[in-house]
Symmetry: D2
Subunit: 410 residues, 4 copies
């Protein structure tokens, strides 16, 4: 890579909402020599990982680990339990819900989209992208589906494109109240291991996740956490599947192995990540991200810019979407910040292209990293001629100084 | 990984026919910090890789790089060009052809199997697994398929389960002679970058490969090299596809990006691998593997054991299958060798379980590594009570001493 | 190290004035397999390094590379050219001059100390530690040394304990004016490769340096750059020497080898560092550090705290010493900052213990790293109850935003 | 290093008697980010290391860890306890004793050399270099030294230039019998952590060692293990010293710190090495090296070449010196083996240049590594036209197959 390494001096600030900055411990674990994925050492590793990952999802049931991106894990969730022509009810909270619907259509499913009903002056292009899933709407739609054509309800737990977290337990409650048999599928790609998540307790049937966010790994691993109902449905599904098929994974994982060659070196990283996460403790990790999130939001407020998430209770602990003033192109702003300050920020996605930017506060970060990030944003906004209400960096410094974290060993 | 590292001292000898030993340069490249896969640095990397990989396949046409195993690349090849109920003609040269047929069936295709017709006293269980593809048989079958129900011919270039390489150009010639429009799909997972391979010149429509063999990377990248006819067919195919769909890859790769989050850190490794391969030169690499192969076969001959490949012209440069005497369980033998000498060998697969073992001679190896490997085998065979005809190690030493390689810088 | 890694999450901010943060490229180079230091590959490496390092010192003459700390390189400079009882004239600009004098005494030399004559209300404990070498004082002392008992003049180019850079060319001029034959020895441990330095042009006889500052390596390499006069003097010196003896180094380095086992893996790092430095260019590097220094000083000024360096022309580009108000203990402050914000700052050394802290702005840093550092300082000062004149972070942000650097590839 | 990496493919075989092959775990530990050597994390590391290293030397007393080569540790031992003109009695068992004497002379000490008295037809150039220290000779000489002008007896425990281990306890016994107050200094650079060594029990006053042999680290750390008598003597010694001075180390190490900047990243490696060594257990490690040594000697015997060590009881567990037939140049042989088989062997040193080569069997090795090494030697000898008595590789294979090691986790 040396010849490709055209970064200026100093470490790059990767503050997009994933891939998140990867800790040195994990990067070095990736570089351990590859072993035989059919040998006994691998079996021990596989058993440890397939058990350990369940504790992160808070489930007693199998979690499938794919050599794939998170998009692959979405596809896996659909093809394992559904059949051509099945309806899936997708609640659009942002771009990833949109992409999921597109994916469903390509797989010969029939997506139905629900979205928040309302106006928004700050973001007229996409008012629904400032809110979470409205469980009541889902309940109403399901109640009308007397023939049970809807086979799955698909919601995004932590919308990476907006910075809004949805109440998954409420969705399950609405589905139960509607007495509808659809499966509940949840994308917690950017939520897992950063925001509170409880696969079993919340009654989720398939949780989809990936390696490159809260797990602090590079991209390359996709996850499906299952429920007994989901496994049962997979026996009746007729969508063609092989690579994604759960059955062989469930069988082979029992002895720590995989049905085809796994992503061995990324699994080394997963092993290291699990050790780090369990040493710190999930509750400490969740609290840490909430604290970061509060500081970043205080900075955005000080700038006088609207945070994309309009519902105070649903602010994402892992990222903050920021709406830029009309007349400012957020992508030009991001480009300036990258070129001048070696800081990568997330773009406004889909219909919000140029209208927002997103600050990731997850992965291998700390108070100073985030202050540096806010400083980069603040300088970039100034250079773009945005008149700021005040110094977000100063506000965040006050927040951090005034709110010490209980720091535990990683 | 430290707590999992229960290897004895010294480096493990990973002499299975892939994953192959990964060079230190590549292992370290894997551990570079993850970057934004939507940023300009990634775009430059992506362009370099998608162009560079074409030179390895010897093609002018797009090569898709998936975050997947090689099995995923198989699936991708099928779902992109075929439709439910399509017939695929698979020539069974070993276990990977068998697995490919099983995969096709799971995807609602109709596999037809051809195999070598003949007897074999040394390996009566699977006589066909000692030979290469018989192009004439394929030609005959296609000639009979007047309705063109067969949409693809699937053959394995380098059968990882047997150590036999097939003549791909001959298959194309037979197809052309039969004037049959089926697409030619070739699995060169263990052949690419170790054995001579020419996607364009040989008229292959889809070549399937993976990262963990001749490219000397860990597993995690799957490849589809395409032809214009294959791309054309992909527009008519009706099998559902999204993750594997070529269209978005072809489009986005033009600017160096990928339709969904790629396997960034493995791509760092691919970059390093391409640099190493091009510095050494493909012809030097092919010659190197042939030399290794000749030495290993001379050792097996000295032991008095049959090499699995029965056709002298088709010996694989990347691995050698060895048939063990009746009464010896090859898996017990391999276990002893692993426990006593920290050497991993490949198992006999499928119907050859326990009947053969396979020696990989690819990846980050050299003369001494292979002599050590042969020494491990020879000691293991002695411990298993096999009466050997002579010292394979001595024979291989004579071969290596007598046949100097032209060594070029890596 | 995993079990010792009790850092909180996120990367530690190592902003002491060395060891400086080491770039990833160099860290990975350190982990390449050790080679035979008597083999041909090492010879090629050794030749490249011993030639390349001369360009950093700007000398045509030999540079000795020791497996040692910078302290060892000091000792080497003295024992190679001096004899027991020789006088050395040391100009005290800070703690490292003091330590050098102590070292000289332990080696049976007679150090004479000169220092700045004057008062200082902000730092009454050590007024001289706010200024550079006064060449005139040296000239006067030498002029009086008619018997030439003083054999060496020892000055520190970049005083790591104070943040003051001295004018070395002026010292040489004063020595020449006094027509005194003493050798000129310069400690540029923290100056080399960060601040302008010219061994030959400035007429230095021995320059002492180390690996862990501007070269961006871990500690473990010490350097002596020589002049012909120094080499000549080494033939007459009677202090016992063996490990440090130049003669065998000069001889063996001609073929790229070393008289005893060198620090091979750190030499890999040096190789990488030289590649990075030469790719960026020394002038760009010097300008980069000056820009950082200006921003940090602007922040300290905004806080209303005195910068330790009292002479505007001599501000160090690599570190800034900050004097804390009476009643504040700088070490308590640093401890708070470390515990709360995972930021390491330099302590006030020697007689300034608790009176100052030092901010390193060298090594693998960038604008955002330094803003984060200033934020950590600013929050720590607030927590310590120091009433600040304003936000240093804001001032530095304005500076950085207003003064774009010409960024070149590393 | 990438551009310097002109190795052919495959891992280099570094089978010199040190620097030894470094395990991957240690190489990766070297690449952890450098920390503040004055901060609390370093203090914890320092305490752990300075305590842990005592268990390797089997001492209750301080062990000094220098940022230096082993040669520096020799110099340290001498300058700390001796005064100019002191006599040191050095028993010449090989080149390292010769170098030690030369070093002593450069430091203004008066070395007296004793050596084995006898003839040797196989190695007439250096008959004494095939034997260990003769304690009786030392006793006799000391008995005659009525004035106690001899202040130190210097012996090499494991002669890296010959492959002979000396009986240190016997030397102490002879010194005691002579009632002579000289200090006993022992070089166990290549013995420590590979061959049984007991600093306290054997009554050694100063043990000298280095990092790059049994500790499996790269070069760069030197060690002095002390006795109370040695510490006492250091208070009276008048040789000038500063870098090497024990006093400040002893004082500062109490809190885990060092008097000057230590070699931080190599200390990370030392931490990892201590973890590995203690996990395996010193007794297992010693047995492992003895087993390797026996196999290698059996191979040399099969070739019909004389092992350099003439005393069966004193064969080194860490290396084997091999005498080549007259008319063969061992250095030409080694060059061929390096070029053809990428295997580095040790040269005959000093007066044995070209007459012997040395096989290292230490560090990160295993049975197969050593068989590969022997294969490289055997092919090289054949290519050099040496008529061998038989296949050393076959003999060693029989030995290894017949003598299973008790393998413990590293």
């Amino acid at each position: 890579m040396l010849t490709l390494d055209f970064h200026p001096v100093g470490n790059h600030f990767l503050q997009i909402p994933g891939p998140s900055p990867v800790p040195d411990r994990i990067l070095r674990a990736l570089s351990l020599p590859t072993i035989d994925h059919r040998g006994p050492e691998f079996g021990a590793l596989g058993l440890k990982l397939t058990q350990g990952i369940r504790r992160i999802f808070k489930t007693q049931h199998p979690v499938i680990i794919y050599p794939s991106s998170g998009t692959g894990a979405w596809e896996a969730a659909l093809v394992n339990v559904l059949s051509p022509g099945d309806h899936v009810l997708i609640y659009e909270t942002g771009q990833f819900a949109v992409l999921w619907a597109r994916l469903a259509k390509r797989l010969s499913l029939v997506p139905e989209i629900l979205e928040w009903q309302g106006q928004d002056t700050a973001l007229p292009e996409a008012p629904g992208w400032r809110h979470g899933v409205q469980a009541a709407q889902i309940g109403e739609r399901l109640a009308k589906d007397k023939e049970h054509r809807i086979k799955a309800v698909c919601v995004v737990h932590s919308e990476t494109s907006t910075g809004v977290v949805s109440d998954i337990a409420a969705v399950r409650k609405a589905m139960d109240a509607a007495k509808h048999p659809a499966l509940l599928m949840v994308d917690s790609i950017s939520g897992l291991a950063s925001a509170d998540y409880r696969h079993d307790e919340w009654g989720v049937d398939v949780t989809i996740s990936g390696s490159q966010k809260g797990l602090m790994l590079p991209p390359g691993l996709g996850f499906n956490a299952l429920s007994p109902r989901a496994i049962d449905a997979s026996n009746r599904s007729t969508l063609p599947k092989s690579y994604w098929a759960w059955d062989e994974f469930i069988e082979m994982n029992k002895s720590g192995y995989f049905p085809y060659t796994p992503n061995t070196n990324l699994l080394y990283g997963l092993h290291e990540a699990l050790e780090m996460i369990e040493a710190e403790g999930l509750d400490t990790i969740f609290a840490r991200h909430k604290r970061w999130s509060a500081a970043v939001r205080s900075a955005v407020a000080a700038w006088g810019l609207p945070v994309q998430c309009a519902d105070a209770a649903l602010h994402s602990p892992v990222l903050t979407g920021v709406i830029v003033p009309n007349g400012v192109d957020a992508d030009t702003l991001r480009r300036t910040i990258l070129q001048r300050f070696d800081l990568s920020l997330g773009a406004g996605l889909g219909k919000l292209k140029g209208r927002t930017f997103r600050i990731g506060h997850l992965g291998n970060s700390n108070d100073l990293t985030l202050l540096a990030t806010l400083a980069g944003c603040e300088m970039g906004l100034s250079l773009a001629g945005v008149k700021l209400g005040g110094s977000g960096v100063n506000t965040a410094m006050e927040y951090f100084a005034g709110h010490p974290a209980e720091v535990k060993a990683a």
